[in-house]
Symmetry: C2
Subunit: 306 residues, 2 copies
Amino acid sequence: VSAALIAVDWGTTNFRAYLLDRNGSILERVSDRRGILNVADGDFAAAYLELVGDWQVSADGPPAVMAGMIGSRNGWVEAPYVDCPTDPAALAGNLTPVPMADGRALWVVPGLACRNDGVYDVIRGEETQIAGAIARAGATGVSAVYCMPGTHCKWVRVCDGTIAGFRTAMTGEVFSVLRDHSILGRLMAEETGASLGPAFEKGLDRARDAGGLLHHLFGVRAEVLSGVLADAAVADYLSGILIGHEVRDLGAGEAVTLVGSESLNERYRRALTHYGHAVDILSGEDAVVAGLWAVARQAGIVEEDV
Amino acid sequence: VSAALIAVDWGTTNFRAYLLDRNGSILERVSDRRGILNVADGDFAAAYLELVGDWQVSADGPPAVMAGMIGSRNGWVEAPYVDCPTDPAALAGNLTPVPMADGRALWVVPGLACRNDGVYDVIRGEETQIAGAIARAGATGVSAVYCMPGTHCKWVRVCDGTIAGFRTAMTGEVFSVLRDHSILGRLMAEETGASLGPAFEKGLDRARDAGGLLHHLFGVRAEVLSGVLADAAVADYLSGILIGHEVRDLGAGEAVTLVGSESLNERYRRALTHYGHAVDILSGEDAVVAGLWAVARQAGIVEEDV
């Protein structure tokens, strides 16, 4: 089986690459902790060649397409944002080449920008997952709300195959800083169970009460002080409050497709279901591989074996 | 002039005491960094005697009344919470004595507890400021919404002299952890001007947009990335977003009385005015001194010179 494309998802803290055959199926994969913040001296070319050089030994090797923070100002080359509304063809038409001395073919997918009420929002990496989700849903007529949970969770609206716009919520990062640095974190049990307990749904219910998020956060402390909430349940309750507010504020529409890791997809599935949304689930890894393949095809970098 | 009462405001990070005459006026004052977290070995008696022992050299000295975290589980003696609705007379009727070997008279004011939609909320220290605000407003008929800004901002509803209930918002602490530990803090200028700039009002306007607080927080980052927001304006913009959400969620009623430090009172005055509220202002220090005096009188510990 001959290799057709090197698909690279190069983010802040992780590097993942996939060698794809002429059907877009995965032949081999590489995973490494060398996200863009962990590349020695910012020498991305050296890291790239070390990690996937075996797949692309010369300019005759398969081309590579990369998505994620590798295209940011702090990455290898800066790939400018494409403005919404747009579509996967515009991503394919705006690839930024990475200059390589020996002529190896290597491109970076652009991020997306939009404005909500006049305020900027940006995406880098998830645009490729959206292209993958659209490709998987069929060539035409796809309309959906995608929720892509993570440190900065993205809510993307796709209408008839067009990426209409999106909003980002800082939910994951806010949870982390409150857990690690606030008075709420100091109330949490040292050991928290791996599975999500019923306090998560209690937090989802709380997010519906009057008073707003900043008030509900203090209630976590008061409930522990008064003996109502056990320290082992604090993390789940806090997570439920935050994700609850996010879903209530951004979960427009009845049906939502989740695109993320297994554990975050499950957490958001429970939240969305709790509020009456219908939920579809797509693995974040499947989406990014499908998206890199779709963009490479639309850019004419690879031809699918039909 | 003879001393009548030692009024002590003993919080988490600060100790403040006032020697009052028989009209409740301040004769002398002491301020120290020995809040309850900074008292060596938790020896509160030693700290107390060192700081104000000159005012109360024996059991014949003026009595002392203390408010604040000194009455918490981690303080000197635990003063149980009084449930709302309640009034200043109930505070006076529920003072907790501090046992002193030589019979010195020393009491702690209780905190307040209430429930909002079934969830606990607690106050410790601000109840005494409310008692002071009510005493200053006159003996009868006072109805007001009090906003007491701080790390954990309190919104208290007083109806006809009764403390009907309250809600706490974690606004100040959320601002601190986002500034010190999130990606937003890393976007801020090293040096931020002491005065509040127009980005604060921009943040207040943003809080009115769709999408919710967790979305508006990410917008801070996107606005900086896109060059719209200068790094020197990030802190004010973030503060405006957070206080804006708080005021919109909790600022019920037309008129609000602010009880806090000069700088926080000014920040919240601008926010409340921006949203069309009428604002009265009371210094937090004046309120706590008036409250300790009012509680001591209602408890019969001191008699006012009439």
